[in-house]
Amino acid sequence: MNETSDDNSLITQSETQMRKGMLVYCVLLLLKDGKVYTSEIIRSLRQAQLIVVEGTLYPLLNRLAKDNVLVYEWQESEQGPPRKYYWLTDDGQALLIELRSNYRKLHASINALEKGAHHE
């Protein structure tokens, strides 16, 4: 996808793809306890080193909202511009549960593979 990126090494590409694949699950995890606004989501993801640039997140959130996984509401903030608060719909909650089990399966599979690799 990032064929023309500055750093087009296999490592970078693979890492980017991994992160991108986990991004939906991570966003749902952040929202599982209630309303969070965009900048807060960005801050958390960045602290967890899950995203490098914000650009990827906006279309993702937009798409999740269109797919009825998230809903949002604009709220004015006391200082600064209005904030867009997102929260999970029932569909989103269901998706979160599904992704969690998917992630655990994947994690278990990779663990098994790693162990297998060690045994050899």
């Binding site: 996808m1 990032n2 991108k20 965009t38 900048s39 490098v52 640039v53 914000e54 650009g55 990827t56 906006y58 279309p59 993702l60 937009n62 798409r63 909202a65 269109k66 797919d67 009825n68 809903v71 949002y72 509401e73 604009w74 709220q75 004015e76 600064g80 511009p81 209005p82 867009k84």
Partner: protein, 443 residues
């Protein structure tokens, strides 16, 4: 390099150097080209403004090319904004506005008082003037309009933010509509400053009426408070006079009941004053906590008063009964009645009976010797001119009267001239059925 220009990023004004402006413009255009959705572009703009503020750029500080580079670093390459997985189901795009329904708020922007009528009008989609007329009609219908307005004022939240105002109209809350509301508010504010009498003649008249109502409330409440204060002072100085005299036997319950009633009345008067002030200032003059405490105090008072009254009522009734006496005189036959009674506290009843008699029924122990009851030449004369109905008291006396009921009985009332004979409406007092009914004593 000193050349700067003004731009708006997400509703905020920034000063930017020309070089930085070109770079930013190109960056934004590239992003807009990639994202299909205009709302994403607007959100990115907002985020840029936020990032710049966090980066320490606000007010007079100029955005330089280095700051644009910082933005690019944070937000990423325009290609990152590309959505790899387009929406699965475009028809579900409708769901993206969670607030389609109207919500009821007080429309303080178009308020004559607190915006209750304007808010209801908006909610129902009718002119606020109609709602106001409705409220005024209800005021004349026994004052319910005032109470209803007060309750709604307290329960309906005011539309404070732009998103509240959008919800009030059932409009979707998004960045575009929020901006629109903010701009409209600016224009409206400016127009109001330029010309304070934008409202139509009905609203002007309403405003005058409301001012007069407010003034009346303040005045009435102050009078009430003043009267209650006088009462309290008088009670404190001379409580025996009041409490010993009329229906109140002296007792701690009755004392407390009286003070509780005074306090409740005082608090209600205070609320009337506050309500009047609120009408003038278009704003409830006290904080929520203090208002809550006052309302709580009223309810506690009412509860205490109710309990006290329940305790005191039997005492008062017993005292009334114990102090109500009656005395009957059998008279010679008469066919005419002459009374000079025109004082309100003596009530004369006529009734048919087996003999000719006059009965006095009275509370307390007045001097009955001042009443002259005679029959001469077939004429019954009841002369109450010298009857003193006021209680003897040492100092300043409250109006303190003894009620006297006189019952004239004759075997054939229709034979008697000169009276307005009305058949007895009440059952004869000899058969008491009310707790206040007197105990019959016959001389």
């Amino acid at each position: 390099m000193n050349e700067v220009t003004q731009i708006h990023l997400g509703r905020q004004a920034f000063t930017i150097s020309v070089g930085a402006h070109q770079a930013l413009r190109a960056y934004l255009d590239a992003i807009v080209k990639v994202v299909s959705d205009q709302s994403v572009a607007e959100e990115v703009e907002l985020r840029m403004a936020e990032l710049l503020s966090e980066h320490g750029i606000s007010g007079e500080k100029v955005i330089l090319p280095a700051d644009v580079d910082f933005l690019k670093e944070q937000l990423g390459d325009p290609r990152d904004f590309k959505d790899d997985n387009p929406t699965l189901d475009d028809e579900e795009a409708e769901v993206d506005e969670p607030t389609r329904n109207k919500r009821l708020f007080r429309d303080t922007d178009n308020a004559q008082l607190a915006g209750v009528a304007a808010g209801i009008g908006r909610y129902l989609g009718v002119d606020a003037v109609l709602v106001r007329i409705g409220f005024i009609l209800l005021v004349f219908a026994g004052g319910w309009g005032i109470l209803l307005y007060l309750v709604l004022w307290l329960t309906i939240p005011a539309a404070k933010t732009a998103s509240d105002r959008l919800k009030m109209d059932g409009k979707p809350v998004n960045i575009g509509s929020l901006r629109e509301v903010a701009e409209r508010a600016d224009v409206k504010g400016a127009a109001q400053r330029a010309n304070a009498t934008l409202a139509g003649p009905i609203n002007g008249l309403l405003r005058t009426v409301i001012k007069i109502i407010g003034f009346t409330f303040v005045l009435a409440g102050l009078f009430g408070l003043f009267g209650l204060l006088l009462t309290a002072v008088y009670l404190a100085l001379d409580s025996h006079q009041v409490l010993d005299s009329s229906l109140f036997p002296i007792g701690i319950t009755e004392h407390l009941l009286l003070y509780s009633a005074l306090l409740t009345a005082g608090l209600l008067s205070l609320f009337i004053v506050l309500f009047g002030m609120a009408i003038f200032r278009h704003k409830w003059p006290l904080g929520g906590l203090i208002t809550g405490l006052l309302v709580g105090l009223i309810f506690i008072n009412l509860a205490v008063g109710g309990a006290l009254a329940g305790d005191a009522a039997p005492h008062i009734r017993d005292r009334y009964n114990a102090n109500t006496h009656s005395v009957s005189y059998t008279m010679p036959a008469f066919s005419k009645i002459d009374t000079n009674e025109n004082r309100g506290f003596v009530i004369i009843n006529y009734q048919a009976g087996s003999n000719y008699s006059v009965r006095y029924q009275y509370y307390g122990n007045p001097d009955l010797s001042n009443i002259k009851t005679t029959v001469k030449d077939g004429t019954l004369t009841i002369d109450t001119r010298n009857f003193d109905n006021t209680r003897h008291c040492d100092s300043f006396c409250l109006p303190n009267t003894y009620n006297m009921q006189i019952t004239v009985t004759a075997p054939n009332m229709s034979d008697i001239e000169n009276i307005n004979f009305k058949p007895a409406e009440n059952p004869p007092p000899d058969a008491p059925d009310s707790p206040f009914a007197p105990k019959l004593q016959t001389n």
